[in-house]
Point group: C2
Chain length 320, copies 2
């Protein structure tokens, strides 16, 4: 498959329900991750290439390494950050991230930082490498993303690149500061859809083949899991959303409640309660794009006063 929607998708996947990321999904295809094959198509400040090797290794740096921290900003508004995230950013000498995420950080923190390294929507591999090089050079570095660093985000990539450079996580005192993930931010906006066993599935087939995604959807839709769908739709793979709806409908009733949260925490935030039978019809609307999270109820989920509720089963044990 083409890789030219690569980093848009993966950046956006950490920003559902909260962070302002791709404001225009149609701009995805201008983001050339495989810039070696068509460098003129890249609108990204940080170019990268599938041919490009990580340049420097731990041996290239003489200084004692600084500290590397992956910080989750949460849902996208400064008030959604934890105190610990703010403290980690305040302690960092360099803050590295996608421009839109950097903009989420309160000014008093960014003003105090020695340096901010931000790049537009592409380039997460080169940006992460830049963060690691700066830490290896002796700086305390925070690399930031919205949501949580463990949810379709950069904590893993950071560790992989640290390893590839011959450095170690402990030498960099590598730490992950968790944040509120999109599923929880969107669940909160919808009411209480996720109180039981739950899964997160991304429909982006850039890094996971679609047959695997389909198999996962079949497996969980046949059980009682509520399902949070990340990266539900992009122009490059509109059929994935359609396929996902078909799979879910093969296992669950058409009247299963579904919550759609678009651009949560952004000015264009929009919330829609619908049903599984209607979900596919939203695929071609502005409501469902890479900034949207779709929350699919289980067989017990119902809608009460515009809120999704998934009972935990208390009602089987208690009268109220």
């Amino acid at each position: 498959m083409s890789t030219d929607d690569t980093t848009t998708e993966t950046d956006a996947s950490t920003s559902n329900c909260g962070a302002a990321s791709t404001t225009d999904s149609s701009s995805e295809s201008t983001c050339g991750a495989s810039s070696s094959t068509d460098s003129s198509s890249s609108s990204c400040g940080a170019s990268e290439s599938t041919e490009e090797k990580v340049g420097s290794t731990a041996d290239d740096f003489d200084a004692d390494p600084g500290k590397l921290t992956a910080v989750g900003l949460g849902p996208g508004q400064p008030e959604g950050m934890t105190e610990r995230a703010k403290a980690a950013l305040a302690d960092a000498e360099h803050i590295v991230g996608y421009t839109t995420y950097i903009d989420l950080i309160p000014d008093d923190i960014t003003d105090d930082a020695e340096d901010i390294y931000d790049t537009p929507m592409c380039g997460e591999v080169s940006r992460t490498e830049e963060a690691i090089d700066r830490a290896l050079a002796g700086n305390d570095v925070a690399i930031v993303g919205s949501g949580d660093p463990n949810v379709y985000a950069l904590a893993g990539l950071a560790l992989e690149i640290v390893e590839s450079k011959g450095a170690t996580a402990s030498a960099l005192d590598f730490e992950v500061v968790p944040g509120v993930p999109a599923a929880q931010s969107c669940g909160a906006r919808l009411g209480a859809p996720l109180v039981n066993d739950s899964v997160s599935v991304s429909l982006s087939d850039h890094l996971t083949p679609m047959p695997e995604i389909e198999s996962r959807l079949h497996a969980v839709a046949g059980e009682g899991f509520t399902i949070s769908i990340y990266n539900p739709w992009s122009r490059k793979r509109r059929e994935n959303f359609q396929k996902a709806c078909e799979i879910l409908l093969a296992h669950r009733d058409a009247d299963t409640p579904v919550g759609i949260v678009h651009g949560a925490g952004r000015e264009d935030e929009e919330i829609e309660l619908t049903t599984l039978g209607e979900l596919e019809s939203y695929g071609e609307t502005d409501l469902v794009d890479m900034t949207t999270t779709v929350v699919v109820g289980n067989e017990d989920t119902y809608v009460f006063d515009d809120r999704m509720v998934t009972p935990r089963g208390y009602e089987t044990k208690y009268d109220y």
Copy 2:
């Protein structure tokens, strides 16, 4: 089955990886949710009974209702709270919660509240009803728990009880303030185990029958999901943990990395990296109890420098 480990389990389930909840799992059985059958066994301040009906309804209150907010405190230390959670608590006139969670809230907030209603480890149904009655009586009320109100927690129960009282969520301006869930807090401590599609499964069979839990485990273990196991072990159901290990081993290699995080954020926090083949042997140790979250890697997960890493697949597209 017996219900007398009821509320201990469900309270504890919101507190994994962060909040100090049951400090002694052996005390669980002194917590009599079914106090009607053996009231003398209850050590809880708030008694409740499976026979007990919700007493008051919306019609019993003359005042204009106040606001009801379910607030997630996150991992258990004040610095793990979001600004928004702090603001919601500061705005609340009454704060309601399990005593251990109330103790997590900074003193300046609790000192400013008009009233704090806290009960020991049992009584989440009666406590939630108390919170709702206070809101219906005209007070602005925050009901708190660790982690996120949507993750094995009280947001759903609150909505169910609101409905049972003939009130509405909108009349109470019901709002959920999300927090960092245990899976993410524990994932952060372990490195980057959860960066791909992931599920949360609770092994507590108090509110979900064990055959359903087993079926869910089979379904997800056969796919590429990483798995966060909540409520892995209690004295009342030690065989559930054993069964879960057997199911996971039926689908995944014995050398699959597993992270165990006990009492995260507490003084007795302990982290252990092990393998799926060794996991069952921890079931009878102090490491695995109701305050523990177990994170099971997928087939790609590996351990690097004492961190769990689940690659997202960047390595298939980029050289680094």
